[in-house]
Symmetry: C2
Amino acid sequence: MAFFYSPDISSPYITLDAEESRHCVKVMRLREGDTLEVVDGCGRLCHCSVVRPDASGCVVAVERCEENYRVRPFRLHLAVAPTKNTARIEWLVEKAVEIGVDEITPIVCDHSERNIQKVERLHKIAVSAMKQSQRAMLPALHDAVDLRSFVGRYAADRATVRMVCYCEGDQRVPLSSVYSAGSDAVVLIGPEGDFSKEEIDMTIAAGFAPITLGDTRLRTETAALYAISALNFMNER
Amino acid sequence: MAFFYSPDISSPYITLDAEESRHCVKVMRLREGDTLEVVDGCGRLCHCSVVRPDASGCVVAVERCEENYRVRPFRLHLAVAPTKNTARIEWLVEKAVEIGVDEITPIVCDHSERNIQKVERLHKIAVSAMKQSQRAMLPALHDAVDLRSFVGRYAADRATVRMVCYCEGDQRVPLSSVYSAGSDAVVLIGPEGDFSKEEIDMTIAAGFAPITLGDTRLRTETAALYAISALNFMNER
C-alpha cells in the first residue's frame, strides 16, 4: 500500500505536486483507475483512485476519507539541542516521526552548536518518514528557540508532564516514575556538552522533572530516540 | 572522562594499540601521569595512568580495576535481517551498543538482502560506541546465519523470552505481554519485505512469541531500535 502526501485534500479531486506525481506515475507506475492512499499530514487519510496519471500533475479522485487516522493517544513534544553533525539530527527526525512525535523544537543551549538546520530539509525528511511508516499526521517542526524562552512557555502548563533529561546528578529519577500513559509530554534533551548547571536549575525551577535515561552516556540523538521510544511504548500497553 | 579500549588488560601495564595511542596522545593530548579509563570489552574497567605517552604505542599503568562494570540486568540478543542500505545497519549497531545489547546476528531470510557486511567494520563501530557510551562490555557481532538455523538454536531454550516482530497478523501481541524485567531475551526483526508466511509459522512453532511493535510500519532498523529501547526501558525501572 503506497502512501502519498498532499497538504490540501478538501476537494473531491486532488492534483499531486510534481514530486509526488513523478513518484506515483514514474516510480510506482500507477495507471488510471489504480488505487492509492493520500494523507494530508493533519490526520486525514483518503482512499483515492488515479484519474489522470500525469507525471507532472497526477490527478486522483477521493473516494473515502478517514479522520484522525492512527492518531496516537498522547501528545509528545521533543525539544532537542542541535548536534554538531547535522546528519544525526536528520536521522533523529526520520526515526522520531516513524516511532511517533507531535512537535520537534531545536533548542539553543549554553553548550549547544549554533548550526541550526533549514526547516525545509527536515520537513522533506519528516514527510517521507510519515509516508513510509503509514502515518497521516506530520509533526510540527519549529524554528530553533533559546532554552529559556522554550521553558518559559511550559512553566505554567501543569497538565503536561515536563521532563529534562541529563547525564549526571543525584536528583534525577527514572522517566517511568514521573510519566504515566495517556499524559501529554514534553522532553528536553541537551547538547553534546549537556545542559549547564544553571540551565538545569532554571528548568527544574520551572516545573520540569529531572530525568535519568540510564547509567550510560547516550549521544544527544540516541537519548532523544530512547525517550521517544519509552514514552510511545508506555502508551502502547 | 575518556574511555580507551584494549582487549587484553591482564598485566599491570597496557600498551594501547596504534589507533588508541594516537587518540590518547595526539587527540586527547594526555601526558605522563594523566589518568584515563581502559575497558576490555568483557566488562572490565581499569583506572590507569599514562607511563609513556608514545603516539604509536602508549604505555599506561593499571591502578585499579572494576569487574562487570555497569553490566546490564539481562541478556539481549538481536537477530536482524540486513538492510539494502548498509549505512542503516551501521547506524543500528552504533545505537544498539549505546542503548544496550549483548549479541547481534544478521539473519538471512526469504525476503532479505544478501549484502552481508564485513564484521570488522561493524566491530570498529561497536568499539567506538562502547567507549562513547562509557560501557565496558562489547556485544558479540556474529556472522550472518540462515533464519531457520538461528531459530533452531533457540527452539529448546525456554529460559529465554523469544520474540519475532512483524507487521501484520491477528495473533501478534504487545512485547510487554510476553516479556518481564530480568528475563533474557532474543528478538527477531525481519527484512524490508518482512518475514514470509512460512518463516513466521516456523518461528512461532519453534516457541517464538509473535510480537507487534505498534500499528505503524517501522523500517527494519527502526523496529530493532524500538524493541531494544523498550526491553532496556522495562529493565531500568
